[in-house]
Symmetry: C2
Subunit: 431 residues, 2 copies
């Protein structure tokens, strides 16, 4: 049965919701030409009918009653841009139960409950699309689902949090310390008044859980993603890293080999010649290595109302095309592979370690001895600055690949050495 | 009607064909898990049954008779990796006439006859997929078709020829002149014995015709794409460009505004801070600006048997998923918009111009006068090198945006000035 109008229920009319509500009528002609049917926003769920909106919407479309949208049998597709875990999750469940396709931008719901929602959707013969949940407008979900479907994905490395990448770019390029860069990001609206989710890596961890689950056709829950933020980075680390040929980025890394996955978000030294090192400001990038395609990278300005709307409307078009032709959709199954996630203390990496030590003969031998006892091989040691008054010097040590647990044990032991005045910092190195 | 086996006819068993023929059985289990049916290579068309192959294929699969593949009613999907215009085009027509879906890696056929094949496919209720025709494994066709479908594409800029990018990278980074870099590329197998299609920009022009047609939902024939090669670039130009903050790349550029398109392939100065300037060696990149998504860039190693197979198998999976479920496919229509393509002499650009001039007072005034008469505004003039013996100096002039016809007229006039010893080079500048 072919159809000439596809009806959409929109949940939420904030920044992104307003973008979607503006674009659909604005582009009605060109969109309908590509799908062979008209898209119509039928109802919009809001919390407050009288709140001033950035766009004009006919008031009869607005409702504060979830049932008026979720239970309206004329609505084909629910677009959820409410955000947060609840009530968004309940809304999505109910929409699917009612036989509606759903499009969501919700990373928390998809990371925590994506597999459940997709299983429910399969039962009900509808689909769940969520391109906008990761990377805003940057197409990465569809690319992993379709375009790279022939590949076994070996790893992916991503810069998927604009707030932290803006802060790190300011620290790296302009020598602005963390606290000031954060304050600026807040003034510009790039960081929330409470920036914890971004700067502590939780936002990126949710997104990585979604990407890793797709890439490895598995279920990687967000709790299995190790995350560590950017709050202990200093401009000095950026300067030393650059001298050594590296940028410092908050990377979201997922790997899979021999049935064991890694999934972690933490600051990383990235060689300057790599494309990921060139990603500045609020831009995103995802690099993927597949067994066939080799390395590919997707780069763009992810966040913001318009880029996110680009992803949401693409998902709506995808569904609408099939609805218009009367063609059933099938929600693909996640979790075909059962993967263990390696705990962070078993992960191997190279390390950058900065130490403040006593500036006298024999100190390096003691320090090297500690590394040796933990089977950590040192790649280079550079004495950066001597502070003659304090009789101390700063050492920057780069290790070869070593076990996280061994490095942490060595750092604890170094901290107890009388000749070590301070563990300045330690950062993993991407290779 | 659901199906448990999808049968494939493969046309061609060269490098890419062998890749596809090896991957499909190798990955049979994981691929069938994602589509719910098994993929089976039923017949393979070759020119010579006795030619040694890089892979072992059961000899009963091979045939030299096109009809044995194209007219076999059990075959669902034809994969064409024969290359070249004929007989590939006839094969594809016949496959579609016979109600088979087709997957092709053929840029010449798709650039010249894509619209015709897709119209035929619509009549016959089958689809034509061609991700591998541009950029090998880099997903760009699907991205334009689906993921950016909500966008009006303003422009795209691409590095889509690995041979020339390898040569330009050697010239730029290692100071190797064109002829030697080409010889090296030939030795490494990156360039053909007759490199004309690559180094004169024709290969990139075919690919750009395909991308521009999709991006602007129009029909941009390859003849409408202006192309100019890399053969007149010198290491000296790379050195001056770098001093001015630019790399030199062979860019494929398509733009669209107010119903008029531009489509052109030529060397271009690209600001070093742009991602496109960082694309080295045989890597590809496509940057796209859409009205919603802003700028996105896709980067990867395009060519080669495995990356190309990645794209081909992704297309096969896309079709197989629907065939397995008994769901009809619809080949989308190109050419909804009728666009004029602006001739190159009406295109506006900034220019880098290198002149060898007499080294004496008053020369610059004469040269500036010629530019002024053609309404070309000069942004900067730098005297690079003086040759005292010859009493000449080298000038590098950067212009503001100017009309191509005006610049060519000015260059002709400059060439006739007695004080101008030689027009060293002129290259457009991307902004």
């Amino acid at each position: 049965m072919t159809r000439d109008t596809i009806r959409i229920g929109l949940l939420g009319l904030g920044t992104v919701g307003s973008g979607v509500a503006r674009i659909l009528p604005q582009k009605a002609d060109s969109l309908s030409a590509t799908i062979g049917a008209r898209l119509k926003v039928e109802r919009i769920l809001v919390r407050d009918l009288r709140k001033p909106r950035p766009i004009e919407v006919p008031s009869e479309l607005l409702t504060t009653d979830p049932a008026a949208v979720l239970d309206d049998p004329s609505i084909d597709i629910i677009v959820e841009v409410v955000g947060g875990e609840q009530p968004a999750l309940d809304f999505l469940r109910r929409a699917i139960e009612n036989g509606k396709h759903v499009v969501t931008a919700n990373k928390v719901v998809m990371a925590r409950h994506g597999a459940e929602l997709m299983a429910l959707a399969r039962q009900k013969g509808v689909d769940v699309l969520y391109e906008a949940s990761v990377g805003g407008g940057l197409p990465i979900i569809a690319v992993l689902k379709h375009d790279l479907a022939a590949n076994e994905i070996r790893w992916l490395k991503a810069i998927i949090n604009g707030t932290t990448n803006y802060i790190l770019t300011r620290m790296d390029r302009d020598g602005v310390e963390y606290a000031q860069a954060l304050a600026e990001a807040q003034q510009l609206g790039y960081a929330e008044p409470d920036p914890a989710d971004d700067v502590e890596g939780r936002d990126a961890a949710f997104k990585l859980a979604i990407l890793a689950s797709l890439a490895f056709r598995s279920r990687i829950p967000p709790e299995a993603v190790y995350h560590e933020g950017i709050t202990r980075l200093t401009v000095r680390d950026f300067r030393y890293a650059r001298e050594l040929g590296y940028a410092i980025k908050l990377l979201a890394i997922a790997r899979c080999s021999n049935g064991i996955a890694e999934a972690r978000v933490h600051p990383c030294l990235v060689p300057l010649h790599r494309m990921l090192a060139q990603v500045r400001g609020v831009f995103y990038a995802v690099e993927v290595e597949g067994d066939l395609v080799g390395r590919v990278l997707f780069y763009g300005q992810g966040a913001g109302a318009l880029p996110t709307s680009s992803a949401i409307v693409a998902d709506v078009l995808e569904l609408a095309r099939d609805i218009a032709r009367g063609v059933p959709r099938e929600c693909p199954e996640l979790g075909l592979n059962h993967l263990e996630v390696r705990p962070i203390h078993e992960v191997q990496s190279r390390y950058y370690i900065r130490l403040e030590v006593a500036d006298r003969p024999g100190v390096l031998a003691q320090i090297a001895g500690v590394f040796g006892q933990h089977y950590i091989s040192i790649a280079s040691v550079i004495q950066k600055e001597a502070h003659e008054d304090a009789l101390t010097a700063e050492l920057v040590i780069m290790t070869h690949r070593a076990n996280e647990a061994a490095v942490q044990a060595a750092l604890r032991e170094l901290g107890r050495l009388p000749v070590v005045r301070e563990i300045g910092n330690w950062i993993r190195v991407d290779d």
